[in-house]
């Protein structure tokens, strides 16, 4: 899967997490912080992980919450994990 496709799919997931974040998601880039720019709470973070596991058919093994500070960190992880 191409990096741009991963980003678009992640944006869908972010919107599914909280539709009120429509503007923040539209404006977000790979450098956007999950906490400070996108306002993720702990439940939001886990929700995103669940959504990613379901959407991409993967499992988040061997990573902790601190490993994902930005959207780009998640993209890096997925890019390495996906075929």
């Amino acid at each position: 899967m191409k990096r741009t496709e991963i980003v678009e799919k992640l944006k869908d997931i972010l919107l599914a997490t909280d539709d009120r974040k429509r503007d923040a998601v539209a404006a977000c880039t790979e450098a956007s912080s999950l906490t400070y720019d996108l306002g993720f709470s702990s439940i939001g973070m886990l929700y995103m992980v669940i959504a990613i596991e379901e959407e991409f058919g993967i499992r988040f093994d061997g990573v902790g919450a601190a490993d994902f500070r930005t959207l780009g960190d998640v993209v890096d992880y997925l890019e390495a994990k996906l075929p």
Binding site: T4, E5, E8, K11, D12, L15, A16, D19, L34, T35, F40, S41, S42, I43, G44, M45, L46, Y47, V49, I50, A51, E53, E54, E55, G57, R59, F60, D61, G62, V63, G64, A65, A66, D67, R69
Partner: protein
């Protein structure tokens, strides 16, 4: 379970809020807190104990945040609470354990298992529940010519039904509708068409047991809406719609299709009629039964949204009705796949360049 700050006692399940997440542990003493991994903060990012069961002091665990203690709220929770010595012994016996998983085997699973004997994470459960109940609604658009591949249609009953169409244009459009539906189902719900149960009503309306969908085609384009709630989509090619009808014909159609209140508000603008018509069809497809009676469908239904989309040179008037229509995502297909588009709702149409969207 109630979480309150207070004086920690041996065998307590404790947690701290660190940025966007919580970190959980088993309190033994001020010098010994056992947790699955170190607190998820930047300073421990490269620490080898980051994702293994380890013991730290309370200051390392808390990272300057307020420590909260879990209190059993009812008899059932109190009964599950294990004796402090047993909780601590179990936690110590697991020091050095690996196999951390952010979602399915994290610090909360570990600490709760030691203290309450259950491998659970409340946040995981809440998040799974929320994900399964999430509003899902997406609309896929594609040129009929790009999608009309007859061998792609499932189930066979629907394929046979389509093959019976004698008009080649209509056959191609129906084939494209269905092929687009199958693609949307795969992309949005991750389901293969063969894993779904499709049914056809005595009125000839197809439905699916596992999800909701609605199809439309016009102006050389097909539209497929899929959702986790009942949904209706209608689409008209703007140029084709007006090319086929004179203003007088539109006035007559408006008189027939609109309620008297809608007709009074209308003002004679043909474009407004087109919007009203697509809204009515979308409302009917979502909520109606039997034959379409335009005057009986409420164009002002709270769940309907109408918009314009430019697909290449073709302007499409589109209406979508459903509980989740406000959250709907729109995608336009081209040779490279589906690209998100942002329609202009009841406003000036937006030109969508699939090549630019792909970049």
């Amino acid at each position: 379970m109630k979480w309150l700050p207070g004086r920690c006692r041996t065998g307590d399940l404790i947690r701290v809020h660190l940025g966007s997440v919580c970190h959980y542990g088993v309190f033994v003493s001020e010098d010994e807190v056992i947790a699955f991994g170190l607190p998820p903060v930047e300073q421990y990012r490269d620490d080898p104990r980051r994702l293994i069961v380890c013991s730290t002091d309370i200051d390392t665990f808390a990272c300057g945040s307020i420590v909260e203690i879990a209190h059993a709220e009812n008899r059932q929770e109190r009964r599950k609470r294990r004796p402090p010595k047993k909780a601590v012994a179990d936690a110590r016996a697991r020091l050095g354990e690996t196999g951390y998983n952010l979602l399915h085997n994290n610090c909360e699973h570990f600490a709760r298992e030691c203290v309450f004997g259950e491998h659970r994470c409340e946040l995981e459960e809440a998040a799974v529940r929320r994900w399964r109940e999430r509003p899902v609604c997406a609309v896929y658009l594609a040129a009929v010519d790009d999608m009309a591949k007859e061998d792609a249609v499932y189930p066979p009953e629907r394929a046979r039904e389509i093959r019976r169409c004698t008009d080649p244009g209509l056959r191609a459009a129906k084939t494209a509708d269905w092929a687009l539906l199958e693609l949307a189902v795969k992309q949005v719900f991750g389901r293969e068409p063969e894993s779904l149960t499709f049914r056809c009503s005595r009125h000839g309306k197809w439905s699916c047991e596992e999800l909701y969908f609605s199809l439309s085609h016009a102006g050389g384009y097909a539209a497929a809406a899929v959702s986790s709630a009942p949904v209706g989509v209608d689409m008209e090619g703007v140029e084709a719609f007006f090319a086929r009808r004179t203003e007088e014909e539109i006035r007559l159609m408006a008189k027939r299709a609109m309620t008297s209140a809608e007709h009074r508000r209308w003002g004679g603008d043909p474009a407004a009629f087109l919007t009203c018509w697509t809204r009515k069809e979308a409302v009917f497809k979502c909520r109606g039964r039997g034959a379409f009676r335009p005057a009986a469908a409420d164009a002002d239904d709270a769940g309907v949204r109408s918009c314009r989309v430019m697909a290449g040179d073709t302007e499409l008037a589109l209406a979508l009705c459903g509980r989740h229509s406000a959250q709907a995502r729109f995608y336009l297909m081209d040779g490279d796949g589906a690209h998100p588009v942002t329609p202009r709702f009841d406003d000036t149409p937006q030109t969508v360049d699939p090549d630019a969207a792909a970049e």
